[in-house]
């Protein structure tokens, strides 16, 4: 099963340092290096937050988890994080392994993520 990777700069433009990555298909030992290659130029730039939409991800193995973990590590070092949305049940099970790692945030859907981001922005504004 192939993997379709769609990368979009944050369409709302509120957070210019954010990317949305939609993954469709299978993130496995053959396709994980493709994702790594496609993320590399963005991670080399100023991107701090990446949202992975996994609504159409059917399969993930440790090779996929590894790409996610390396990504969240890079983002965390610049004060950002990797967020994951719409995990299907079979994906959620595998995610158990990395869900507690620092720099990983899991949201039920985009509405829950938006509430979180709004709260984060408020607390940031209050702090400055």
């Amino acid at each position: 099963m192939p993997l379709d990777i769609q990368i979009q700069k944050n369409p709302t433009g509120e957070n210019a340092a954010a990317l949305t990555v939609t993954l469709i298909g299978s993130l496995d030992t053959v396709t994980a290096p493709d994702l790594e290659r496609q993320l590399a130029p963005w991670l080399g730039g100023p991107v701090a937050d990446i949202v992975f939409d996994l609504a159409q991800l059917k399969f993930i193995s440790s090779a996929g988890l590894r790409v996610f973990s390396v990504t969240r590590k890079t983002l965390k070092e610049r004060g950002g994080q990797a967020s994951f949305l719409n995990l299907q049940p079979q994906i959620r099970e595998v995610f158990d392994i990395i869900k507690a790692l620092p720099g990983v945030a899991i949201f039920k859907d985009v509405a829950e993520l938006d509430r979180y981001l709004a709260a984060r922005q408020r607390s940031h504004r209050e702090a400055t």
Partner: protein, 139 residues
């Protein structure tokens, strides 16, 4: 069903596809099949990446067998002796130790009922057993 595979990641996924078809033909539930596909991918990728260091002229075998109430996946390679069942479970290590290694065998363990390893005549032999629940209405 017996597969002869070259030591490449594409061949790993070919074995996974064959397992999916085999399990589907055997009436194995989709959720169980996904777990078995994951277990096979992890174990076979270990062979390709570690035992054979992706040396494509090397070969390994995957055997798929349906028994009465279980499914057996057997992997055989001629790489250096390595017992993946001896790798300690992930939760025994520090949480920030998230480098490569360890996750794959953890995932395999979670999705099968038993993993047995033996070294015999220069071969690593890994057998994954999954019990199959009888469909509703059958004893």
């Amino acid at each position: 069903m017996k597969l002869e595979l070259r030591a490449t990641l594409e061949e790993v996924m070919r074995a996974v596809e064959a397992l999916r078809e085999f399990a589907s033909a055997q009436g194995v539930p989709e959720k169980t099949t996904l777990g078995l596909a994951l277990a096979l991918e992890e174990c076979a990728a270990n062979i390709v990446n570690h035992a054979y260091q992706r040396s494509a002229q090397q070969r390994f075998q995957v055997l798929l067998e349906r028994h009465d109430d279980s499914l057996l996946i057997e992997l055989r390679d001629r790489g250096p002796e390595f017992d993946p069942t001896a790798v300690p479970p992930r939760d025994q290590r520090a949480i920030d130790q998230d480098g490569p290694g360890g996750w794959g065998i953890d995932l395999a363990r979670r999705h099968v009922d038993e993993i047995r390893y033996r070294r015999e005549a220069g071969e690593n032999i890994l057998r994954l057993h999954k019990r199959l629940v009888a469909p509703a209405g059958r004893a």
